[in-house]
């Protein structure tokens, strides 16, 4: 296992491995040191930031579904200023790519936040065009290719940081949206955010989430996410960060084969704070067992001719 090359590159940045903590599932990273060494991670996408602090939705905010979870956090966060003042620097001590996930109600808000981050000690900006919980806009932005194009383009003008555009999967044709992001100047595409879902308690006859609906994540959505990553990778040129239900090293491999350059791990962090260590180990074990020395060999390596026989 000594000679494995796990590093990947995106938007001119090098990641020591393709594993990134997914936004919203790992706080600001800080506080996890008891469970894992943040320096082992390829990157950390911090909890979704907004211009002003947000309280988020009333509880219950989480429901368990078969092999999945629904959440309706609703972007609770201390606001971008707090992040810049208190969190960005402590996080910077760790040798991992730091990604600021931003969420706006208008195109201007996105631009404004991107500007604030321009000189911050972070490595990349992630435009979340997809949060399904914020009625004021999140979901609308990511479902229309024209809007995706124009916001991406606008934000690009306000920052020189490499830009990730994170898309919602709740659309008819994800490839067109991804293409719009690429044309707007996105450096990387991040796929997928959560699927809009709902859970009901038959006994009380009420929705389990106070917000009624929430975002579905976890292994349940893995086949949908893989399909989207694969479809998008057939069309766009820029790198893709794939996610949706990654729980093991083999899951990482599947996303890389489908065309992702890196992956994010979300729900698995809610299951175990040490999940990313196990996933990274699993990836290494897979590579060793399959005699793959460079993880880049796996990217887009899906073999589609001849079917898959028993």
């Amino acid at each position: 296992m000594e000679n494995l090359n796990l590093g990947v590159n995106m938007a001119g940045l090098s990641f020591k491995n393709p594993i990134i903590a997914a936004s919203g599932t790992f706080g600001f990273g800080l506080g996890y040191e008891d469970y894992l060494d943040l320096n082992i991670l390829g990157g950390i996408s911090v909890k979704g930031l907004t211009l002003e602090a947000r309280k988020g939705n009333p509880p219950p905010r989480i429901a368990e579904t078969p092999s999945g979870i629904l959440n309706s956090v609703g972007l609770e966060n201390p606001g971008i200023e707090y992040f810049l003042d208190r969190t960005a620097l402590p996080l910077r001590q760790f040798d991992t790519v730091i990604i600021a996930n931003i969420n706006g109600n208008t195109s201007d808000e996105y631009c404004h936040m991107a500007e604030k981050l321009q000189d911050a000690p972070i490595d990349m900006v992630e435009l979340n065009l997809s949060c399904p919980n914020v009625k004021e806009g999140g979901i609308a932005f990511g479902t229309d290719p024209k809007t995706v194009y124009s916001i991406t383009k606008a934000v690009k003008r306000h920052t020189s940081q490499p830009l990730i555009v994170k898309l919602t999967p709740n659309v008819t044709d994800i490839s067109q949206i991804a293409l719009a992001a690429q044309q707007g100047g996105a450096d990387v595409i991040s796929l997928v955010n959560t699927f809009l879902g709902m859970a009901i308690d038959a006994r009380t006859r009420r929705p389990i989430l106070n917000n009624i609906t929430g975002g579905l994540s976890g292994p349940a959505i893995k086949p949908l996410a893989l399909r989207m990553v694969w479809q998008v990778s057939q069309l766009v040129e820029i790198p893709i960060i794939g996610m949706g239900g990654i729980m093991t090293g083999e899951d990482v491999v599947e996303f890389l084969l489908a065309g992702a350059t890196a992956v994010s791990v979300g729900t698995a962090n809610l299951v175990s704070p040490t999940a990313m260590i196990d996933i990274l180990d699993g990836l290494k074990n897979y590579m060793t067992a399959n005699k793959i020395t460079n993880v880049n060999e796996l990217i887009g390596g899906l073999i589609t001719e001849g079917g898959n026989k028993l």
Partner: protein, 262 residues
């Protein structure tokens, strides 16, 4: 707080719907204090992703063993109840901020309702040197558990059942209310279902008793990362969502706003 593989020492039915499990968890037993909880991965069924938070019911520092008492209410607790001794359980713990006893506390009332009785046993065992009066509420005689343990460390145990099959018939909070009219306490620590907690808040504020309560909310990570386990803390004018998992589960009664909850 860390992640462990804890072997099951025993797991048996205590009362109707209630099970007690003892696990081997030296590190946790060493550090845990009352009101904290462990976060349990349900083994076997991979369709159940989330861990289940269960309060610590007691510890034996010498053997490094830890007890929990849980009520079978759904798939996860049902699966737990089927586990045989010897199996390794994937747990996180000890998690959360538990109860704390301000200096000078002499007389301690502890109150538990239903599965909220479970964490109070650990309270009593840890602070047995205080003058403890226990108030325990159950649905029915068939669901009463660990009464002996409470009798051991309590000056007196007050017991009620909803159906009157054992002890006082009615709410344990009414019993407490009566008692407080006769004799106050330095501190009250409590855990139970929301309706009970609401009634309790009223009673302790009327009697002006310092009271800490342990809250429940649906959880994800259990370690402060996902902010799904919110409760409302503050006062009506200025409140914030706090995390049950790391800011709690124990809060001062007067800070907890349970409005809109039934």
């Amino acid at each position: 707080m860390s992640r462990y593989n804890a072997k099951i020492i025993e797991n048996y039915q205590l009362a109707e719907d209630f099970y007690k499990m003892t696990i081997d968890a030296k590190k946790i037993a060493q550090w845990a204090y009352p009101g904290q909880f462990i976060h349990i991965k349900i083994p076997g069924d991979n369709s159940l992703l989330l861990r289940r938070p269960i309060s610590i019911n007691g510890i034996d520092v010498k053997t490094g063993q830890l007890d929990i008492v849980y009520q079978v209410v759904g798939k996860g607790t049902k699966a737990l109840s089927k586990l045989k001794k010897g199996i390794g359980l994937d747990i996180l713990g000890p998690l959360g901020k538990g109860f704390h006893i301000p200096e000078g506390t002499k007389k301690l009332y502890i109150l538990g309702g239903g599965c909220g009785v479970a964490p109070m046993r650990f309270v009593g065992q840890r602070w047995r040197h205080l003058d403890i009066y226990s108030f325990l509420g159950f649905r029915s005689q068939s669901t009463v558990f660990q009464l002996n343990d409470f009798e051991c460390f309590s000056r007196k145990v007050f017991l009620s059942t909803d159906d009157g099959t054992m002890g006082y018939k009615g709410s344990i909070v009414s019993l407490l209310n009566e008692r407080l009219s006769i004799e106050k306490t330095d501190l009250l620590l409590a855990c139970g279902p929301i309706p009970m907690i609401k009634a309790l808040q009223k009673v302790v504020s009327e009697h002006d008793i310092p009271c800490q309560i342990s809250l429940e909310e649906r959880m994800g990570c259990g370690v402060g990362g996902c902010v799904v386990c919110s409760c409302v803390i503050g006062n009506r004018k200025q409140w914030d969502y706090k995390k049950v998992c790391t800011d709690g589960p124990v809060f001062w009664s007067q800070e907890v706003i349970l409005d809109g909850e039934s």
